[in-house]
């Protein structure tokens, strides 16, 4: 992750150096993994949480790249990718994560999306996750377009 703090101020004025230092020094990085796992509903608690299977979907490399957190892997729980994709005006039909040619479907959240794959389904070695969504307007198609982006995950071998 790259962070840039910027402070733009007029020259030759008293007081602004102190504001800049106060702003810059207030920055820190906190561990948010626990926050997301606490927020992620247990499978079964959400209406259409993670149903899995083979799906006929057409990969459509998305023109919308979301900012996502993680990916996080918790032993015994699973893989979690929180993403800041808004379900803008309720346009998303389903979210999908694909690992090892298996699709994991979930119903969309309002403000952000949580892509989840159960731990027992994760490969032992490194693997790619494609995650994204199917739009409502496409959902009636036999093989709807899957707007996705991808990330590569290195599994620890120990």
């Amino acid at each position: 992750m790259l962070y840039r703090l910027s402070f733009v101020y007029p020259p030759k004025e008293d007081g602004f150096g102190a504001i800049r230092d106060s702003f810059f020094n207030s920055f820190r990085i906190v561990d948010v993994e626990g926050y997301w796992f606490d927020k992620n509903p247990e499978p079964g608690e959400r209406a259409a949480v993670v149903s899995r299977g083979n799906a006929c979907i057409v990969n459509k490399y998305s023109d919308y790249f979301s900012f996502y957190s993680g990916p996080y892997i918790r032993e015994g729980v699973g893989l979690l990718i929180p993403s800041d994709v808004d379900n803008f005006e309720n346009t998303i039909d389903q979210t999908v994560a694909i690992v090892n040619n298996t699709a994991y479907f979930a119903s969309p959240e309002e403000e952000h999306q949580m892509f989840f794959v159960p731990y027992e389904d994760l490969p032992d070695k490194s693997f790619q996750v494609n995650f994204g969504f199917i739009l409502k307007e496409d959902s009636a198609a036999k093989c709807p377009p899957f707007n996705y982006q991808a990330t590569w995950i290195e599994m620890n071998s120990n």
Binding site: M1, L2, Y3, R4, L5, S6, F7, V8, Y9, P10, P11, E13, D14, G15, F16, A18, I19, R20, S22, F23, F24, S26, F27, R28, I29, V30, D31, V32, Y35, W36, S62, D63, Y64, F65, S66, F67, Y68, S69, P82, D84, H112
Partner: protein
Amino acid sequence: MGNILKVKIALIIFSLAILILIPLLETNFYAPVTYKKWQQLIWDDFQGIAKPFTGWGAGISSGIQVEWDSTAEKFKAYAVQDNQSSWRRKVLNDPDYVLNHEQYHFNITEIHARILNLYLDSIQQQGNTNYRDKLITLKFKLDRMQDAYDGESDHGANWGMQRRWEYKVDSMLHELSDEKGKLTDYFSGAEIFFPTRPDLYKQNKVGFRPSRIYSLIDYGVSLTLFQSRFEEHEKFNLNYEIDNFFHEKSLQILSRTSVNTTYDFEVLVDSKDTTDRIVSTRWIYHN
């Protein structure tokens, strides 16, 4: 003869004084005092008589009032402003600027009312309602802060220091609010303090790095936290990314300092834009 003249002059002065005092009595001395609880001030809140021979444009009288809140069943402190002891001169060069300066006096009082409320909550939970000593201590601190505000900002005449005080006071108010001032971005893990709530922008278009940007333009400055996903394998590109930022924005780099840090990478770069404004940046990479 001389004495009679003196008496006559004294009578004339006395009569004139009465004539001047009558309207003052009507308009002010008997005018009802209202105590406005903390909120945005308007000039109508300044009904007092301007201090004679003052060099300042306005003055505010504010203080802390403790009331029994029958709904919450506890004592609660409020910052209040006295309309009859607050005054303004009729003609002001920049009334909005002056009013803003006075508003921050009121805001400083509100800070201390909130501190008192924290104290009141803590003692009332223990069944105690004796807040008098704390109020006296806070009053002393409040007066000192008001004096420091006027002193350092030169009653608002020093524009930069006025802005710095506004930042400081808003920061304290924000810290004493329910939000506690800190902003945490749960997507990036960044935690940072903004004096007020910044705007959030998202960059999600293909061709650009996905990013989340918090921006606040106030106090005569611009504060930004820019966050983008930058993967481990791209790390070798960091310096290019930084140079490119300054190049694209036509910023002239004034200094660049690498920082020995707990993060994977950190650098401070000062630059100036085409209008000579200083653009200070702190870059942090951490995975």
